[in-house]
Every structure is written in C-alpha cells, then in structure tokens.
C-alpha cells in the first residue's frame, strides 16, 4: 500500500481492494504464478485477506447450521459461534506464527503478513466448495453421499496444495523445502500449544496454592472471606 506521508492517513483504495479480492480466483487456479504476484508484486491486500477469513468463518457457521442433518451431526444446544470462529482463527494464527518463526531461521523471504495473506487466500476453494455443498446437501440422499464427501476432501486437498504453493512462492523456496517447513511448522504448532497449556496449568496451580493458603488462614482464624 502506498503511503503519501506519515501524517496523512492512506485512504482506503476500494478499486484495489475489489481487484485483490477478485485476484483470489486467479490464485486458486494458477497458484504458482498467482502467489508470486500476490505477494511480491502487490496484487494482494490485507483487507482482502481479512475479508476471505471472515467469509470463511461465516460460511463455516452457515455450513454447520444449514446443512441437511444427513451430512452434519449438529446439536443446536451445544452450538457456539465463538467456538466456530476460534476453530478457524486459532489454527490460522498459530500456523502463521509458527511458520514465520521457522522460516525466518531458514532464510524465508516472507513477512508475517505475507504468510497470513497467502494462507488466507488459500481458504478460497474451501469457501466456494463449502458454500456449494450447503444447497447440495438438501437434494441428495445419504446413500448418494459419496459425492458429497468426495467434494469435501477435494476442497481440503486443494487447500493444502495452495498452502504449499504459497509457502514456496512467499519464501522463494523449492517445493521440497516448502513441504519440509510446512511439516515442521505443524510440529512447532504442537510445541507452542504445549507451552501454552503448561503455562496455564502452572499459573492455575500457583493460584490454587495461594487460594488454599488464604483458605487455610481463613479457617484457622475463623474469618469469613466467602469460603465458608
């Protein structure tokens, strides 16, 4: 994005935004050329990436709620929009951070925002196919479900291939290196999650320790602090 000067806020370029959004359709068809231009030639915008992620979340919510029950085991009592949001956002965030942390060490050229943008654009086929599957689920029967499941796996496969292409083009890697760093990124995600969980466990244990001390004191001196 071109900035005129520091004081002057850059105005939102609507035409460029629409163009970059439409460019996602090109990227998913010609990922190698598409991703290079997307990242390095400034064809993509962060606004478009945010939009794609938002649409992916919305489509996911619609998919869960509107798909025919034959193809979706959905209990409205346990449904939480925020959980669905986090189910997309958290892995995305973890992936971006893990991948960036890793690739900066292995002379990847991509910035954090580049990785985010590339991954977001890779969500496009998921959006398109999932959106098409919603009405489709209402006109086919469970026994004809093969085609449905095939399409869902196709969407997943397409997404994975796009992410790999994105890695290759963003970091200017060979294909082998793109696959290797992606696999290691997933391991790094595991490590990050492990550290987080351990951190929370330690903190909650620590808090519980002090709470129990205060409780003990309260019982000993017969203070009413809301514990008894």
């Amino acid at each position: 994005m071109t900035k005129t000067s520091l004081g002057n806020q850059s105005r939102f370029d609507f035409d460029r935004y629409v163009k970059s959004l439409r460019y996602s359709l090109f990227v998913i068809r010609k990922p190698l050329a598409g991703y290079w231009d997307l990242i390095h030639e400034g064809y993509g915008t962060m606004a478009a990436a945010h939009t794609i992620v938002a649409v992916a979340i919305i489509v996911q919510i619609l998919r869960i709620t509107l798909t025919n029950f034959q193809f979706m085991w959905f209990n409205p009592e346990m449904f939480n929009v925020v959980i669905v949001m986090l189910q997309i956002l958290l892995p995305l965030l973890l992936w971006v951070v893990a991948n960036w942390s890793l690739t900066t060490l292995f002379d990847g050229k991509g910035k954090l925002s580049d990785i985010y943008m590339g991954t977001a654009y890779a969500l496009t086929p998921l959006i398109i196919i999932d959106a098409a599957l919603i009405p489709m689920s209402h006109v086919i029967t469970f026994e004809e479900g093969q085609i449905y499941w095939m399409l869902t796996s196709l969407a997943g496969l397409w997404f994975v291939l796009l992410v790999l292409c994105a890695m290759k083009e963003i970091h200017d890697y060979s294909f082998g290196k793109a696959i290797a760093t992606s696999v290691i990124s997933i391991i790094v995600i595991g490590i990050i999650m492990f550290i987080f969980i351990m951190f929370f466990a330690v903190v909650s244990d620590g808090i519980a320790y002090f709470v129990s001390i205060i409780q003990e004191l309260a019982f000993r001196f017969d203070l009413s602090l809301g514990f008894n």
């Binding site: 029950f69 034959q70 085991w73 209990n75 009592e77 346990m78 449904f79 939480n80 925020v82 959980i83 949001m85 986090l86 006109v139 029967t141 469970f142 026994e143 004809e144 479900g145």
Partner: protein, 485 residues
C-alpha cells in the same frame, strides 16, 4: 493503542468462548431412563416394575448366601445358592405368589449322595436334564430330573489347561443338540465346548482383541519393564453365557478392548447386530461418585422372546434393554439395598417377558413385570421386527403418548409412513430420531415423486435450453442481414 484494542478484543473473545451454553439437565434421580440422540440421559416412564422381592427367609428356607446363578424354565426358577452349597427350585404361581418346590443339597452318584461345593452355574434343558457347575469341586454334573448323575465331567485332559490352573466351571448352557458350553473361570480362549457325552470338544468363540494404533505405538517405545507393568492384551475371559430361543449364545465380558456383549453362532462368530446410536456396553455417560466409577460391566444377558435382550450391569446394578437392532430402549435399576436395587448383581433370566434378577449382595431374587408402557414397547417391537410396520403404529402412538422421548417409536412411525407413501411425514419422523439412512430413503422417494409431479418444469427448462439459443441466433443473424442490407 492498537495493541491495547487487540488485546481487549482477544480477551473478550476468549471470555465469550469460555461461556459455553450449559445444557439444562435433570439432576433428580429417575429409576428408569433412556438416552436421547445426543447421549444425554433423560427420564422415562417405568417399563418394568418390581412385582416380587424374594428372600430365602420369606420362602422359609433360610437366607440365600451369595447365590451366583439362576435359570428359569416354564414356571420354575432354579437358583444356584452357591454359599449354602444347594440348589433351590422355586415355583412361580399364576397368582403371583412364589413357593419353594425343592431344595437340593446333593445329587446321587453311583447310588451314593455327593454334595456340592459352591455351585455357580445351572442349566435345565427342555427334556428335563440338569447341568450344574459344581465349581469348587472342579466338576460339572449332568443329572436327570431326579438328580441322579448321568455324567460327571471333571477337568478335561485334552483342554490345554495349564497344570497350575484349576478347572473352575461357572455359567453354562446346553443347546438343542446336547452340546454343552461352559464359561470357565480364568480361561480366556472362549467357552469350553463339550459333546453330549461330556467329552471336551473345543474352545469356541474367543473374542478377538483390538489393539489400537496408539497402544501399539506406546508398546513399541516402552521398555521391557514398562511393558510388563502395562495391561497385557490377552483375549478376554467371558463372565457369562446364555442361550436365546434361536440357539445363539450371548456372552458378556468386562474387558475394555472387546465388545461387552457378543452373540455367537454355532461357529463361534459374533452375529450381534449393532445398528444403534450407541455401543452396546451399558451406560453412555457415567459419573464416578461414591466409589462407583468406570464404565458399566455387563455380567449377564436375558434374551427376551422378541429378540430384545436385557443386560445386567454389575457396577451400578442397572438393567439395559436393547432391541434386536441394538437400539437402547430403556435403563432401570440402581445400586442399593431396597426393592428394585442391587448390591452385587450376579445373574438375570426371563420367564417370557418377566425378569428375575439375582443379587449376591442382598441375597435376593427380584421379579420385574412389564408395565403398560413396557408392554406397548414390546408389542410394537414384536410387530416391527416382523416387518408389520403399519400394524405397529398403534403401539408406537401408545408409547409416544406416555413418553415423547422414545426414539424407536419415531422410527417405527416413519417406517409405516414410508411404506404407505407418506414420504413427507416419514422424513419428519426419521429426522426426529436422526436416522440418516431412513431419512435418505424417504427423501429419495419424495424427490422422485416431486420430479414426476413437476415434470413440466424440467421439460420446460430443457425445451428453453434447446430451443431458445438457436432461435436467438437466427433472429440476430436475420437482423444483422437486414441491417447490413
């Protein structure tokens, strides 16, 4: 500034995420319950009710002591009163009273009485012969109806039992050809099969052991010592055997890695139908309060005449009713020392649809009879099983009038609707019980009918697609020609 907004947003999102909607659940105790499609226990009307609570003392023969097995044939109940080393025969009279017909302390072997030592399994055949597992005497007695020993089956020579293993026969059944199947304690190769002359034939029906990939992985990386300390994956030991009206054997076991209930054919293959929403293993969800924890441990099966079967849970003293497709119908019972509750369930058997449950903790026999609700379910199932869906509708409506949460009734209604051509209604009822296959079938018919009824739309669409483009092309062509000339 921006960072602060982001952080507060994140915290907000997390807080909302943590605030999961809490499903409302009935916390009060219900004697009878069932599970809805989401695996949540929901109260149900009583399908069985206690109609008699039999104590040895009240029958005039002194208290039972740790009775291990009971067998019902005709109107007679044979109880292996193990701790008292005797067999008690109780007669259930038409008027609902019970009286002791016989107390057998010994059998006659070659003209001399021979006493029992902790008999823990009994079976009576249609022709009156009796088989008794005389467990601590390490033998099985095959006697005639006057308790004269026909064959005494001791420790079989060819059975590959380890020399250190005692021969401890327990529950046993005999099929209509006279083959004897015995569940032997500490034997994990399946049931011991004896021919009609009491000769050991073969082990049958050993349960295959499923070892998950994760377990295999851990076993691979574990050290020798760790491997020894971990649970070993050996074929499981059965803990009961019963025979149904078609001659199939129901066996149960309490191993986590094996199906809790198996229905064996003559070859020893499992032929139990498991089309229900849940595994046939007792409770779907369970708590661990008051020292009672872990999954249900099914220890005996009572196969009812309409292929429904009742499984007895040792952990919580509950009885689980499954239909012929493996759908859980209802659960009742509990742990305790009062009527309808059990401390240490040991065996269950049925007299028609009447159940007799034996408890070695309370030393009682509890008789259960069907209520109006249970009767409607069983009548409906009886017709449903024979494919008489239309006829079963009456009973399903009856059931739903008493309990709108009874899922099987919706499927029964849907089946009837489907057969009568009411596809819309069939879809609605299948939907209520999340029966996808049924729904798909009804929907397929509905779709075909809809397409036939609205064929003109398709005809029109095809017509438009075929006719319009050439016409438009022609018109444009003509217009251009006119324009150019």
């Amino acid at each position: 500034m921006k960072i602060r907004y982001l952080c507060s947003l994140l915290v907000l999102v997390l807080l909302i995420g943590i605030a999961q909607p809490l499903p409302t659940r009935a916390s009060t105790f219900h004697y009878t319950y069932t599970y809805n499609i989401w695996g949540v226990p929901i109260p149900s009307p009583d399908a069985y009710r206690v109609t008699a609570y039999l104590l040895g003392e009240s029958l005039g023969i002194g208290h039972f002591h740790r009775p291990q097995d009971l067998f019902v044939i005709g109107n007679k109940i044979y109880v292996a009163d193990s701790g008292n080393n005797r067999v008690v025969v109780i007669v259930a009279n038409e008027d609902g009273t019970h009286e002791v017909a016989q107390v057998i302390e010994h059998a006659m072997l070659d003209g001399a009485p021979t006493t029992f030592n902790f008999p823990s399994g009994i079976f009576v055949s249609d022709w009156g012969d009796i088989w008794l597992s005389d467990t601590d005497n390490h033998r099985i007695l095959h006697v005639d109806s006057y308790w004269n020993v026909i064959t005494e089956i001791g420790r079989p020579e060819r059975s590959q039992l380890l020399p250190t293993d005692d021969f401890l026969p327990s529950k046993l059944v005999v099929d209509f050809t006279g083959r004897l199947f015995v569940q032997v304690i500490h034997v994990n190769r399946g049931l011991m099969e004896f021919d009609r002359y009491g000769e050991f034939a073969v082990y049958m029906g050993a349960a295959p052991v499923h070892v998950s990939v994760i377990d295999q992985f851990w076993r691979r990386i574990a050290t020798q010592e760790q491997r020894e300390r971990r649970q070993i994956f050996i074929p499981t030991e059965y803990n009961s055997v019963s025979i149904d009206s078609e001659g199939f054997l129901f066996v149960t076991n309490t191993n986590d890695n094996v199906d809790s209930v198996r229905r064996l054919n003559a070859m020893g293959d499992d032929v139990l139908i498991r089309n229900g929403l849940f595994y046939i293993e007792g409770d779907v969800v369970y708590g661990d309060a008051a020292g009672i924890d872990g999954p249900s441990q099914l220890i005996d099966i009572a196969p009812l005449p309409n292929e429904t079967f009742i499984a007895f849970d040792r952990v919580r003293g509950r009885l689980f009713a499954y239909d012929f497709q493996g759908n859980l119908l209802f659960v009742f019972g509990g742990r305790g020392a009062r009527e309808g509750f059990f401390m240490e369930p040991t065996a269950i058997d049925n007299m028609g649809y009447t159940l007799f449950a034996l408890c070695a903790g309370n030393n009682t026999i509890t008789r259960f009879d069907l209520t109006e609700y249970g009767l409607a379910i069983n009548r409906g199932l009886e017709l449903y099983r024979r494919g008489l869906y239309e006829e079963s509708v009456f009973y399903w409506q009856e059931v739903l009038r008493m309990n709108g949460n009874f899922g099987m009734a919706y499927v029964g209604m849907a089946r009837a609707m489907l057969r009568q051509g009411y596809y819309r209604d069939a879809m609605r009822y299948f939907r209520l019980e999340n029966d996808r296959i049924g729904y798909g079938r009804a929907f397929g018919f509905f779709r075909r009918q809809w397409m036939e009824d609205n064929f003109w739309i398709f005809a029109l669409a095809v017509g438009v697609l075929v006719i319009v483009p050439p016409v438009v092309k022609k018109v444009l062509h003509v217009r251009r020609e006119i324009y150019e000339s």
